[in-house]
């Protein structure tokens, strides 16, 4: 095959496909051209937690990812402290979801808690883009209002390269990529099983059961270490550079404006950590210490927390959950009674 001819044909075919696909995709997904930079959140907000907060008037609201879900027992903590605690774990979340949750749910409610507790680890607090792409976007969408300019700017637009900005605005195949992929996934997921008598619900349940299975701890540890690599990217250790482009100052501002004390809980991890994290941690601790209405509880090197509490490098087992909740209760008591 003549390579020059193939190249010319490819350029022409690409141009033609780009024009045709742009027109079709713009029509199908109702996109403006050029598209607006940043995410398109829907108007629907997940209100369950807001309703619960308004109904129970908790003194403490806890936010975090699966580590919170597996690490803190809400009922036990409430009983040991003698105050109402509302726990809102969002598995697979990061600071973008936590910020939105604070802004729209915790402080969107008529009642504001006295304490907001955020469980974190590694460099999560200063990596705003962590867990915001692909399927994680839907998680953000749950807690976002239609317009979220700060999150759009910090989490999305600031993270884009000039090429991504161009593609986002001018290439509809890229702009609508999340929706196109969802449509494609749905077509692949539901069409054939439906022929075999398994409808949408049946397929969702079947696939959901696979993705909710008990996992192998060794494999899970490897996967978690793999995921942690994002948080260990060399640039993420540069605290001074990261802090200004993160959502952390905005989370603190929100708490201060709404009269809550913000308690950050650094959880313990059993696994290798890079030496650079030490310097980063020191700077983060100094920064938090300077902020009004902010308390840091650091369990990273706490001897009370044992490896036997853990099911993998991050998550507690039921015994560990009970023990860690007791330790938290003990430390919260000193804060509450101050």
């Amino acid at each position: 095959m003549n390579s020059k001819k193939l190249f010319v044909h490819f350029m022409l075919a690409s141009l033609a496909l780009l024009v045709v696909s742009s027109a079709l995709i713009s029509l199908r997904y109702n996109l403006p051209y050029p598209a607006k930079l940043g995410p398109e959140f829907d108007v629907v907000l997940k209100y369950d937690d807001m309703v619960a907060i308004e109904n129970t008037h908790p003194e403490i609201v806890m936010i975090g990812d699966s580590v919170l879900e597996e690490g803190v027992d809400e009922k036990q903590l409430s009983e040991e402290l003698g105050v109402t605690v509302h726990r809102s774990p969002i598995p697979g979340s990061g600071t973008a979801a936590w910020y939105l949750f604070m802004k729209n749910i915790v402080y969107g409610a008529d009642y504001h808690p006295k304490y907001v507790v955020v469980l974190f680890r590694h460099t999560i607090l200063t990596v705003p883009e962590y867990r915001t792409g692909g399927k994680y976007f839907y998680l953000l969408d749950d807690y976002a209002r239609k317009e979220e300019p700060l999150v759009a700017e910090i989490v999305f637009i600031n993270q884009m390269t000039p090429f991504e900005k161009f593609a986002e605005q001018y290439i509809p195949a890229y702009t609508a990529r999340v929706d196109i992929r969802e449509d494609l996934d749905n077509a692949l997921r539901y069409k054939i099983p439906a022929l075999a008598g398994c409808d949408r619900d049946c397929t969702d349940q079947a696939v959901g059961s696979l993705f909710g299975r008990e996992v192998d701890p060794i494999a899970l540890n490897l996967a978690q270490e793999d995921a942690a690599k994002v948080l260990y990217d060399p640039k993420e250790f540069d605290f001074d550079r990261q802090i200004d482009t993160s959502l952390l100052p905005h989370m603190i501002r929100l708490a201060q404006q709404n009269g809550s004390t913000l308690i950050f809980v650094r959880t313990k991890i059993f696994g290798p950590e890079p030496a650079e994290l030490k310097q980063y941690t020191q700077k983060l601790d100094e920064y938090l210490a300077q902020q009004e209405g902010v308390i840091l509880l650091d369990y990273e090197n706490d001897p009370r927390i044992l490896e036997s509490f853990y099911v993998d490098s991050l998550h507690n087992n039921p015994y560990g959950k009970h023990e860690f909740t007791s330790i938290l209760a003990e430390d919260f008591k000193t804060i509450i009674t101050r």
């Binding site: 079947a206 290798p272 890079p274 030496a275």
Partner: protein, 464 residues
Amino acid sequence: MNFIGVEFLYFFLIVFVLYWVFPNRRWQNVLLFAASLVFYGWLAAWHALVLLASIAVDYFLALAMPRWKTRSSLLMWLGIILNIGLIASVKYYLNFDDALAEWSLQTGFGQGFLLSTILLPLGVSFFTLKKIAYLVDVNRSAMPPVKDFIAFGAYVSFFPQVFSGPIDRPQAFLKQLEEPRTWAMDHIYNAWQLIVMGLFKKIVIANTVKVIVDQIFLMREPSKIFLIVGGLGFTLQILADFSSYTDLSRGIAFLLGLKTSENFNKPYISQTPNDFWNRWHMSFSFWLRDYIFFPVRRALMRASWLPAVFSQIVPPLITMFISGVWHGTGNTFIVWGLYYGVLIVTYQLLGVKVGQTPTKRFFAWLVMFMLIAFGWVIFRAPSTAWLWNALRLSPFASGPEEWFASLTLTVMIAFYASLLFIKYILDEYFPKITWLHALYYAAALILTFVFMNSSTPDFIYFQF
């Protein structure tokens, strides 16, 4: 620095412009060597120093060989031991030795535990094989030692290859570095197909199928039906992932006016294990053939007191065992290597050859494809205990839910496999219809845009 990242794009644009603005052979080689060291030392400069030091040692050892002919083999073995020592120390020892890891963590050696244990091994397995090939070839006078240190350094550290190959032979690559290179549009004509396919296979196929595969291999006790689906998924994922890296590597090399080795030749149409290894990771399997298999077989054949069958059985077993060890530190890799050793020996002893009739060819392919997929299950399993458990104790399927989940996932895997199958059909049956191929590449490009997002998981072969 990852090929699929804006950092690399900027890096490459700078190298590309500087490379062609001054089309002087010496300058281009200096630039290639310097750029490769920058690329390799991007995360930690001392990685580049290790690479530079190891290049210097082999360079001087090879130079000394013709001058000190009686000690030539000794020098070669010294070089081989140092190279294997380098792999062993950074890849195996640091991974396993907790005390050293702790010391590394405490002292900040190598800018941290993660960098020293996980990131440094990247590429070591590949560039040491290049250097061993060079030492052996110089020792057996297959080529003279390279006098130009810069050219030798550029060959060993060549940035498009340094992390995951292909493992180019010194003779072919160094010859190109000795010749003048001038800009021609042919460089683009040769490169673009590889770059488009590399991005397409990685972003659209490998990254998508990875989600399914990871989930299955995360399960504590998968039933056999999930193991089959996971195995098929990984069979597709590893081909798409690894061949995409090779495509990108070759495409980038073409843009620099250099032709590098192919690594894959439709490996999944193989009919025998030998056939498979002649098509899969070719630069590595040819390396194994020339520097392990043949020397071992020659040595065994010379030992006339040994039964002849030994020279048939032992070389494939040793070669594939070494292949397994090279691939990783877990038992699964060793079992996977030995599995292929046993397969090759069995096929040889049974006298199984490529089928002569279409029916025989089809069945030979079917059997081999299943064996390949099972091999990938061993390779991908988190541990041998996990695999043993899944094979022995788990049920085939625990209920209708598992059947439906498997069906759904198989449909998804089949869809992504069909994207590669279409390419195969075009290459095999419509090789001359240019517009059809152009349309395929254009569609691949658009799909790549659709599947592209900010996160790009590492290439699987970065770990080796």
